[in-house]
Symmetry: C2
Subunit: 458 residues, 2 copies
């Protein structure tokens, strides 16, 4: 049903403009710059040509199907434009303008009129008050981001639905640094028509999508959301960052999207029952979406650590096991046989206990041996492995070793540092190995696999 939204063969930009300060210019320019391969139809009654494209007076003048119409006009002008899209039988209309229900009574009236205009039609509205969509696979972005100011992630496996445009774009800019990608981003905005529920359903069916990340300040239909998600989360992991979980946050949310946020204990109960993994920051949202896209759930809470830096093993042990400033899992007690075999393969002053410390002498071969032994030890449920390139015997081929064990027990990697660390993180990302640049994020990612495991295992 949403196939054309994610794979449009033609896009109209209503309100296309020569004026570089106008949204209708930026959207057109971005579509061109991204290399969108379908047909582009700028609409402007007063122009003949913009940015090399033939301009149409009205969408009704176009002698071709239009899969998506992006309306870059003001709130009141958007309504007649939507009506024309309905006439043209455009399946998806993105209404960018704000100034609707989030601004009070008059806006609410306009919003009702907007919704009224698609009644009894097959036209669906995304928004209003939205930056629209970003679909890397189709080279489509309707967001008003200037490429020189915002990096967007590449094609990937995380479906991202956000009520907030700016938070969505910012977060995508952040994750693009290490090469993490999205299978699609939809800013639902005021979601008068298309909501998170249908989009979750789409991402469920989309083969490319392996996990679904949500930023929501409210739920459009709580009960239906719960029922949809409960069903889908058995098959695909759903991660939720719920804005407005506190009184102060809920007040902020009502200023932001005009929404009244629900009591967080209700959200928490729903998340538990529906198998949603909750995130509390924008980074956690994607850290968890990533690990759940790339790794199997944990079947138990006994974690083994492999490190070349003793102190990192100590702090990780604390963070794994502590309930406060930690995730409350356990350190695996390795079998004697495992310890004996590890001992044979590492330097005498290393540690064959958990955390296994290869010390600065640690080599790629030792990692291989130790990961093999830990994967065979039935006292180990999951493995946190630090791939630290700072010492002399470690090289980028350590990533090959990690990749080799990706099919075995759940494993999460920590790669700390700056220059080479970043290269290794990017390489890990290419191989879909979940890796993180610090201890806390590494451990929390493992914990997300535990939360998921508890739900799936039930």
């Amino acid at each position: 049903m949403f196939h054309k939204l994610f794979n449009p063969s033609s896009i109209a930009v209503i309100g296309a403009s020569r004026d570089e300060k106008k949204i209708g210019n930026v959207v057109l320019k971005n579509l061109k710059a991204m290399g969108y391969g379908g047909k582009i139809f700028p609409i402007n009654p007063k122009e003949d040509e913009i940015l090399g494209f033939k301009v149409y007076r009205s969408i009704l003048d176009i002698d071709n199907n239009v899969d998506i119409a992006v309306i870059t006009l003001s709130s009141s002008q958007s309504i007649p434009a939507v009506k024309e899209c309905v006439k043209k039988e455009v399946p998806f209309v993105i209404v960018i303008a704000g100034g609707f229900s989030e601004t009070g009574e008059e806006g609410k009236r306009l919003e009702n009129e907007l919704l009224e205009s698609i009644k009894n039609s097959n036209t669906r509205i995304i928004g209003p008050n939205t930056v629209g969509i970003y679909i890397p696979r189709a080279n489509v972005s309707t967001a008003l981001t200037l490429p020189e100011r915002t990096s967007l992630p590449g094609d990937g496996h995380i479906g991202f639905i956000s009520q907030s445009g700016a938070l969505g774009l910012l977060t995508m800019d952040m994750i693009s640094e290490y090469g993490l990608g999205v299978s699609g981003f939809i800013n639902i905005g005021n979601r008068i028509d298309m909501s998170e529920i249908e989009l979750i359903d789409y991402f469920m069916k989309d083969d490319k999508t392996r996990s679904i990340a949500l930023y929501l300040e409210t739920f459009k239909e709580g009960r239906k959301f719960y029922e949809t998600v409960k069903e889908i989360s058995r098959k695909k992991p759903i991660i939720l960052l719920k804005g407005g979980r506190t009184d102060a946050g809920a007040r902020a949310a009502s200023l932001h999207t005009g929404a009244i946020a629900s009591n967080d204990s209700i959200v928490e109960g729903m998340a538990k029952q529906a198998g949603i993994v909750r995130a509390y920051t924008e980074l956690e949202l994607f850290d968890y979406a990533k690990v759940l896209a790339y790794q199997k759930p944990l079947k138990g809470d006994r974690i083994a650590i492999v490190t070349t830096a003793g102190g990192v093993g100590v702090v990780t042990s604390d963070y794994i096991t502590s309930q406060v400033n930690g995730v409350g899992l356990k350190l695996a007690r390795l079998k004697d046989e495992t310890k004996m075999n590890i001992k044979k393969n590492i330097v005498p002053f290393g540690s064959a206990e958990n955390p296994v410390d290869l010390t600065a002498d640690g080599s790629t071969d030792q990692y291989d041996t130790v990961l093999g032994l830990l994967n065979k030890d039935e006292n180990v449920d999951g493995i946190i492995v630090y791939a630290l390139y700072q010492t002399a015997k470690i090289d980028i081929d350590l990533i090959d070793v990690l990749e080799k064990y990706m099919k075995e027990k759940p494993m999460v990697a920590g790669i700390m540092g700056s220059k080479i660390g970043k290269k290794m993180l990017i390489e890990a990302e290419k191989r879909k190995i979940p890796a993180y640049p610090d201890i806390e994020r590494t451990v929390k990612a493992m914990h997300a696999l535990y939360i998921r495991g508890k739900y799936i295992g039930d």
Copy 2:
């Protein structure tokens, strides 16, 4: 007393070697590569010249004072070498070798012998089992890090004392990314002689140092540590990452440094009483050390937020006010006058309530006006300002505006994104504006100012 350790005019490398795989080669090469400006004396009875330096048979043959001797020999060979340093009246000797008390009885015996060898002398030992020191101001590093594998931070205002060498180096590599610097790094290792206590005292007196970051798995002398720190923390902030705060972590620590960690409730009580700000991860350690080096403490718990991204304001509100997955502070209730004046300066669909949302229309001038108004509002204790370059009217000169308000109420900046974000973070760091790349770290930094304020205000 430690002046020569931080400003050595001459360094001897005992065990200097031509063999590139030997520590005695790496240390010498690093000193040269760093551009250390003092005299370098390699010691090796079998060589005449290494890396262009004249080699001495013994440290006793050197016709010059030696301020620091770095001993790159094995544990047993290190003992006679230290004895020669005592004869030469070398004030500081760094014993790199492991294989002492952390490895058992025989090592313990060697360690006692090592300590015995400096008895009744003015020679002090750093280590053993240490990577030594890194003093950017003197271009000195004795760490075995290959520059192509590890980035070290520049000169800065954080004094860093670490019981773990690898964790220390890794963390410095991480912080170097955004230009944060250290005034000195000392890896105390097994600290048979020089301990964290004396070094804290040195950093207290050192003008360059504005905050002191500690990674400790144990305390050498708990009572004395407490008394020293309680005194010093009134004047300079001290931040502690305590490895081994859980049973599992303490076991890991005992494998790592052979130390028996103390009960964490005792550490917690001491930290509260002595005014130590606790960190629980390697990133927090430096995030807090930075904010406490650059900003004044908070005098109350009422925080104002300025953002151009509504969703970021919402999530920040949640994180500020929540006790769980948050820091438990309050959102400031702005005075009516403040709100009225903000309203006049921002777009109608922006928010003049806290969080103040300038929206994508936000400009550098608006930031200036709003920060001015918030600084005048007595309902506001501290300000979290998001400097997000993604929108069209924001530019790098926003950093100038932030700098202007650095002298007023405590302010912490959040700068999220990748490419330009990083440039802005580096620029903020140059101006000593505490800035962080995500919501959680930004809010937690503000909370560190609150913890400090509560102690100082008592």
